[in-house]
Amino acid sequence: MSIWEYANPVRFMRLSDRVLPWLAALSAILMLVALVWGFFFTPDDYRQGSTVKIIFIHVPSAMIAINAWVMMLIASLIWLVRRHHVSALAAKAAAPVGAVMTMIALVTGAVWGEPMWGTWWAWDPRLTSFLILFLFYLGYIALWAAIDNPDTAADLTSVLAIVGSVFAVLSRYAALIWNQGLHQGASLSMDRAEHVADVFYYPLVTAIIAFILLFVTLVILRTRTEIRARRLRALLAREARE
């Protein structure tokens, strides 16, 4: 049996039904652990003071925000090539999650920026790219909402995801050339010298895993909702014909 079999809506419902409670519990627990650890049991940074605690939300949400879009792009490609309904609906389901994660990264960043840089908002390339990403999410969600035939909507949003990805990457480079940034470099790079201290590193990794689990849980849950919505639609249409 090929892996694509799981992309059949019925199978997906059956499987996800079994997995979801465990996933949900796990992500809730891990999230709790990570945030409690980060908030209560980490020291202040010598330069940033207690604001460094924001990192445990800010960085994971920023990572999810980007990777959610990548996931949507892949799911869209799968839909276009293999026409598996579940992957189209998963892309649809991921968009609001990605948008909220983007918003969290933006908001926590803004709240961090006010004490650190003295401004809520600066047109730093990192921040700018995030704002643009947020716009892409909005457009994508709006396009889904505007078309009422679900297959047409899936096709068109997939095309948008592809073209949008190309231009999102372009925007990122455009923003880099446009303005030199204030923003931190990578703190999780392989180069140990640039690493954040271990006291921050381990809770941060925990938080990242927790956010990933949360993302997966939410996407599965929302995909289930979308599948149900589709089935409801189909059943109602069938009734209407009788």
């Binding site: 059949n8 809506p9 019925v10 199978r11 419902m13 059956r14 039904d17 079994r18 309904h85 035939n149 679900p150 297959d151 599948i227 589709r230 089935r231 639609r233 189909a234 059943l235 249409a237 069938r238 014909r241 009788e242």
Partner: protein, 232 residues
């Protein structure tokens, strides 16, 4: 109303439709539609409103790809004429027609103008036409496209009796030249070469509709039951 004559079409071939199933939006409307129209014949699609005539014509033109089944001729040999007639109000009658002629690689629009008695109106902007005159202009496009298969969706809407006769003459000439036509209409055209197909019997059965929607899979109900068992 002089009879017109068209140059014969070079590659006459019958239009064979086999087991076509077609949808509109998400709904399967027709299924199992099969028929053959040979060159020189017209097939009139008859059915009450909402039966699926437009849907069938769009599927044959591949504007809405059919769900299943085959159509023997490629859309490149067809001209489509729908409820909306593609007339631009800002352009004059002649400009409208000349555009479609150019798209299809034709030069001369006078025969088309004359066939539909539009020569007098040639320089009038299409915005200033009456409903019937405008429809005539839309129909004239058929003659500049020079395609052997005509798909016509209620072509005679708004036309007066004399113009319906003129139009029947044009269709007759098209058939005489080896073309063929599919015409959805509620108004009899009175062609000599016409067959009639009622599409009502092809209305999609419910079960057929299910067969193609993964979201109507019976497995869903089971899946739900399964969960209930677990939760109990």
């Amino acid at each position: 109303m002089n009879a017109i004559e068209l140059a014969p079409y070079r590659d006459a071939a019958p239009l064979e439709v086999r087991d076509l199933a077609c949808r509109r939006g998400e709904r399967l409307i027709l299924e199992g539609v099969s028929f053959t129209v040979s060159p020189g014949r017209a097939l009139i699609l008859r059915a009450p409103n909402g039966a699926g005539k437009t849907t069938l014509l769009r599927a044959i033109a591949r504007l809405t790809p059919p769900v299943r089944g085959t159509v023997s001729l490629s859309p490149e040999r067809m001209t489509w004429f729908g409820h909306a007639d593609g007339v631009k109000a800002q352009l004059t009658v002649a400009e409208n027609l000349r555009f479609w002629a150019a798209v299809h690689g034709m030069q001369d629009i006078t025969p088309a103008l004359e066939a539909f008695r539009l020569a007098d109106l040639a320089d009038r902007p299409a915005a200033y036409l009456s409903a019937g005159q405008r429809r005539r202009l839309g129909l004239a496009r058929l003659l500049v496209a020079r395609r052997p298969v005509w798909l016509l969706d209620e072509p005679t809407v708004s036309l007066d009796a004399a113009t319906v006769a003129t139009f029947a003459g044009v269709v007759g000439a098209h058939l005489a030249a080896g073309g063929l036509a599919l015409i959805a209409t509620h108004i009899p055209l009175g062609l000599a070469e016409e067959d009639v197909l009622d599409v009502t019997p092809f209305r999609a059965r419910e079960s057929a509709e299910h067969a193609h929607d993964p979201f109507l899979d019976a497995g869903f109900a089971t899946a739900r039951d399964g969960r209930e068992e677990v939760s109990r």
